[in-house]
Symmetry: D3
Subunit: 242 residues, 6 copies
């Protein structure tokens, strides 16, 4: 037991609303937690501008969904649902979270602007925060040791949010228990799924990628910076079956 | 020994001229062969249109360079140096090579057209060949079992050839013995390196990426299709240090 | 009856293989023929390089599928399946077809090169043919009156073939009888659909667009040139529901 | 008369300055109002930072120009000319306007950033407002029924503002009375046209597109989301004459 | 007189048809010849596929236009009007021209494919020829000393041919005598200008750029490679007046 | 002496931190000042969020570096290091600087967002300021005569910041005294260069461009708007040697 491999650094996922992580990349979360990686969610509003569900209920739904996926969750306050702004103070605050959680990989909503205005703004704040977390001199962060993440991946909450200028990686989420956990996590957001077919939308997206890759389901993530690899052995599968 | 892991499928690299593979991605080759992967080179001209070196001498240089890198090498005839054309028969011929070698990963010159006219044409032929190798009915290929590669990566022989619309992966080639083998393989092309500073060019490119990634040297490869990954554990390092 | 509206000019669709039109945009065809537009298919190989089905059988399947969709069909010979090349003589030949059929709208495979090598080559030949059809002096076309099409739209046989640099139009194919006719036309290609899940792939693509637009199913087409409109009344619906 | 067709939902155009709509797409406005569509302008400053004309005079010019085009007009206060900022409160305010006017189509300045800084910022605010107008829970908007627009088109006040990544639609504004109304509306902004050749600039742009399409004059609009069409009959004309 | 400055290397312009250079960039030619630079045209067909004018007449028109502009002209045979193909032998032939004329700057049609099929093919052949002209070993070119050009600029015969991914340089052609010479050179192609408003098209394009730059007329050229400058003093004017 | 040429308008460079100008384009500065152009630096923070060096020390380093390069320098206060925001008041403030200094060419950090968050924000503010400086009516700027710059060039502090959608110009900084001055200016920022290999990074970048252009060292600048040229004689060298 003394020579068990060191635990990998945790995965940290950011969502603008209580359901963004689950809908946008819940299958990836299920895949990683089942592989033993600690995962934490940071949710930046309580969904108070949505058409359905009270903030209190939405928080409960998010906690339930995180539990289904095996993640811990916290809520932080920025500007509120539907009114997130790009402010330096927000990026500093998120950098503080990064220094506390000290993740290896972080997930954030994509930067494509033609989507819910909170999504891409949060993505930009997280991207900036990942830099600020490395700089030594920000006075609000004094006492928190600087931290450099390993990689930032963007997820797309909806298809329009998929970046056209970044080559994605596709994560295989085909295992039935992964699909089931993901589906259950989405279903936990009952206030949202009763009104619109979000679950079908996401499973259809994942199925389409899966068919293209010759597997069952896949989710696309978009790397914020080039991947640095030790060897091609890591990336020998490509998506091209038709 | 009965349960030793299966040998991975070989790596197959295509070059339009005797020195393209070494200059464009020789460090990656060195990295892979040293990790135990069988590697084979297919060179599609004898460099007969170059300003320096006879075809016979250039073939000898290529054989020497491949040996330095631990790869096997063969020469095939298409249209000759400086006159490669996009012809269906060429793609079929290359597909035949793919069915014979049955690689997991293939490397080919990038498709950016503003470079030596043979480079991108070969890249396009290889890309098409990777599809034809999968189709059952091509009559020239009867008797050769169809083969589906795992992934196609493009390399850039020169900086102008780096695609702007594909997010690269960077392969860490920092180990001193890798840099040494790569340098020796480039130096084996003595007819070319006496006239121009190709070795310095390539080492400078690799050093620049290395500094950006916080390592010594790296080489960028450009995936032809999205990478399909089992887990984020495979790709947890990103390139951002400044 | 003398003042019935003039019949619109026909729709002309080009396919590289016997099933490309049906899989790529069969729902659009069904929509247009049911609205009374004459539609004609020009198929440029007999699928002789495919893994499944003899040429004779594939021609029969194509005829059946065209009949299901209400289109007429002809086969023309270019270079054969898997070996189509960009040759001026091909473009002139296709221009001759355009002068004979005199369509208003033409459909051709998209120009994205990372797909079956025949697809994009045919798309480029059709694009060039649409210009040559307008020029008066090509000697092979003497005696055939020049013809200017109204618009060229590209279709994507597979998702990888969707252009990223053209804003699509989405055609609503939600009516159950349209989906049924399209499905039947795809199923007519029994040699292809027994081996791979092409029908599911296409219906999944169409369903995903449909959900995004708040309808049942849609198919994306990519205009070759800007659309010229008399009024905004023509284009008052956009795709954004999430 | 009871079965007269329902009036189409109104057109709503946003301008950052008193003359932006007229210069950027006045011909389209003339075309739509003459076809019977109600049109309303929302102008977000009084041009107080311009080199020529007092705010009061510029408001008078804008009212006169709107009258020439057959549109109604209102002025709203955001941050003032030359100092517009992206603020969530502004988007909410514009969403309130959308809920009140309940347009089918909206027009806003393009998002290309290399132009007057107020132009693209207003475009982004309008884009975000179109989403917020659909969401039920924003407390400032309580009591105003949510509204979903049909489509958002961007106009380019100057040529550098034309997006390169969106395929435009070109609106035919060739009718002499349309060109005349447009010209008169531009001329109504006498404080601006005395100093610079704005009218010639715009008519030259429209004439250039017109020649390309084989008509007299055209104006390009850029769809914010893919157009959803019932049939190809709607879009059978393309722009390619040379 | 012994210390008069050395004559600059000549300008070499390639056209696919007898009128392409004049329509696409005739004003630039006029500007350069009037500044004392020797200029030579290479025309690669006799316009035999056009709707108007016999080949003999079109050659006469081209000779007259070149004379008006102060350029010499030659005709070379490739595949003929409307049927140009990308062939290695063509690039080698054009490389031979480059070695003979030994230009500093070359002009060729842009590479955008959505235009006359001969235009972009010639552009690609010229681009490749500029590389082959530098390589020592091509046997057809033995005896012709290798030559490296200074820069390749692309011109756009029509607006659709303007590249969207290259930042242009705009050449000021505002001097009345330049506009007059350009117009006369275009008018020399009487068989073409009687049928279509090509002259108006080109002058409108140039006027539109001129207004944007605060001058009378300008023509955009697109550099094939980054410009290498000795100092910013060379490029201190930018195009932004609105 | 009465007919000495008029002094060119000054060069004005903006930096977000005390060392950005030197690291990003110090060689260009050295080239211009040695050619006799007055150059002024405006630095918008004191580097107070960096990991190394006190603000006071960093200001001293910046003054020393500017002196080495032959430039004058001033510091202005915006939001502070690591917290710069896009605010209209900042753009107005920078526009005031432009009216005071009245430069011909300005240099600002590139707009690519995947870099230090202060860099691109400053670039955007400078771009906007260049417009506001031309407008007559901004009340904070009353009494300062409007000023139109000649051209805005962006520099990239790090390689990730190089725009992919703008064609650069490369400035030849090969002269040994230029490289020496640039190196000395970078070395003046001793607090930064002791911790990281910034100097090697920048010289490697410049050497790589130099090799590509067949010279010693070059620095890429990215024009904010098309260059307007009097003649091709200004731009007859291109970068293509391999």
């Amino acid at each position: 037991m003394s020579n068990s491999p060191p635990e990998p650094p945790p995965l940290l996922a950011f969502g603008a609303h209580p359901d963004d992580i689950e809908f946008g990349c819940g299958g990836v979360i299920a895949r990683e937690t089942r592989a033993g990686r600690r995962t934490h969610f940071v949710i930046c509003s309580r969904g108070e501008a949505g058409s359905h569900g009270t903030p209190a209920r939405r928080v409960r739904e998010a906690r339930k969904a995180a539990a289904v996926l095996g993640a811990t969750v916290e809520f932080i306050k920025l500007d509120g649902d539907g009114r997130l702004e790009i402010q330096a103070a927000h990026a500093v605050k998120l950098a503080g979270v990064l220094r506390r959680v000290r993740p290896g990989i972080i997930l954030a909503p994509s930067l494509v602007e033609n989507q819910h205005p909170d999504h891409w703004r949060l993505g930009k704040l997280v991207r900036d925060a990942a830099r600020l977390a490395r700089y030594g001199g920000l006075k609000e962060l004094r006492g928190k040791k600087p931290h450099a993440i390993g990689q930032l991946f963007y997820y797309a909450v909806t298809p329009e949010a998929e970046p056209r200028d970044l080559t994605p990686v596709w994560i295989d989420v085909s295992a039935p228990e992964i699909v089931a956990a993901w589906t259950a996590a989405m279903a936990a957001h009952a206030t949202q799924t009763s009104a619109r077919n979000y679950i079908e939308l996401q499973l259809t997206r994942a199925r389409l990628l899966g068919m293209r890759a010759g597997i069952s389901h896949a989710i696309a993530l978009f790397p914020g910076d080039p991947l640095v690899l030790d060897s091609l052995a890591q990336v020998g599968r490509g998506a091209r079956r038709f």
